[in-house]
């Protein structure tokens, strides 16, 4: 018999986040996290990034954080997606959005393609070591970093993560979901984009400070 997978259940972790999420928080979700987040219900300020370009949720979250500096923007990302856009960690810290929280769910595999190991996971590396994403985020300049390996730790610490001085990076060790499918788009993209923008409210309400004009 094989050993049980390490890490907390992804859905359990998201249920805990859902309990701590403020009504005016924006949640950007992608890939497996989007699939599970959608399964827990809907919210007008959920940006279910499906279809997506894999890896770009962090960048889209940065754009939202800059445009909506008085809202908290929470990005739900995977380790495979993080690896596809590692530079975005540097871009984020260059901009220093204090309202951006990046939650990275690390299951060590490309889940929906059959659970092949990522090159960041111990199983995907010749030396058998695991990339330290928390150290990486810290070195990039995230002002707050966290690592949760079990559900009780996450339950106890989720509020602290959301309220930390941003930009914030938290790594959560999660177990792969066996046989998981990729997320399906919950509706027509154009209509979803319009509804989301309407939910954010008129420009300037909680959003950007209008730029200076020359002269």
């Amino acid at each position: 018999m094989s050993a049980p997978p390490a890490g907390m259940g992804l859905q359990d972790a998201l249920v805990a986040l859902r309990a701590e999420r403020r009504a005016d928080d924006v949640v950007v979700s992608a890939m497996g996290a989007a699939r599970e987040w959608m399964g827990l219900g809907t919210h007008p300020l959920d940006w279910v990034f499906v279809p997506s370009s894999m890896g770009q949720a962090t960048s889209l979250g940065l754009g939202l954080a800059l445009a909506q500096p008085r809202r908290r923007i929470i990005v739900l990302n995977g380790d495979g997606s993080t690896l596809m856009n590692l530079g975005s960690l540097v871009t984020i810290t260059a901009e220093q959005p204090g309202n951006l929280v990046l939650l990275t769910f690390d299951n060590g595999v490309y889940e929906v393609t059959g659970a092949q190991p990522t090159p960041g996971a111990a199983g995907g590396r010749q030396a058998g070591d695991r990339v330290d994403y928390v150290a990486l985020a810290g070195a990039c300049g995230f002002r707050s970093t966290f690592h949760f390996t079990t559900l009780p730790e996450w339950l106890a610490g989720a509020r602290s993560v959301l309220d930390a001085t941003g930009p914030t990076f938290a790594l959560l060790d999660v177990a792969p979901v066996p046989g998981a499918r990729g997320p399906r788009s919950p509706g027509p993209t154009g209509e979803r984009a319009r509804r989301f923008m309407a939910a954010l409210g008129p420009r300037g309400e909680l959003g950007i400070d209008h730029p200076r004009r020359p002269g």
Binding site: S53, L60, L62, G63, L66, N85, G190, I208, P211
Partner: protein, 161 residues
């Protein structure tokens, strides 16, 4: 080709709030004027990021523009596809056409083979700017795309690699 002040003034007139960019030797010279015009520069590490950052800015109520070299257009593929075609977001881009005006700079530069076919493959409504007298073409295309909420691009011929 154009001064930073010309370009920045146009961007400001069109209500551009953010320029998401990786510079090249032509576009990068515009940065001080763009910032002086009160437009925020967002410097990304690779061009694929630029489209997603711009998408987030747009969804959040800002009016971003992507400014990259044609080599970055090649790198942008999947992100550009997602933003412009899956989500149909009206992101305008300014694309520098490396060495077009001085093809001795990089003999055999294959950007000269692939740049326009790439723009066409991605079904981007673009205008090709090869001389300073075409600033009005640049301006009109940006103004039209902004007013109509459409994606578009200008391809700016450059003289240096």
């Amino acid at each position: 080709m154009f001064s930073g002040e010309q370009v920045a003034s146009l961007f400001a007139r069109c209500g551009i709030t953010h320029v998401v960019t990786v510079p090249d030797s032509t576009l990068g010279q515009w940065e001080p004027a763009i910032q002086k015009a009160g437009i925020r520069l967002v410097r990304v590490c690779r061009e694929g990021e630029a489209w997603a950052v711009a998408a987030g800015l747009y969804l959040g109520g800002a009016r971003p523009l992507v400014m990259i070299q044609c080599t970055g257009l090649f790198e942008s593929g999947d992100s550009l596809r997602n933003v412009l075609h899956d989500w149909k977001l009206p992101i305008f881009s300014v694309i520098g056409y490396r060495s077009f005006l001085n093809q001795e700079t990089l003999p055999g530069d294959t950007t000269l083979i692939f740049t326009e076919p790439t723009l066409q493959a991605w079904q981007i409504d673009y205008r090709f700017i090869t001389e300073p007298g075409q600033f009005t073409v640049f301006a009109r295309h940006l103004e039209t795309c902004s007013a109509e909420g459409k994606a578009g691009a200008v391809l700016i011929a450059e003289g240096k690699a």
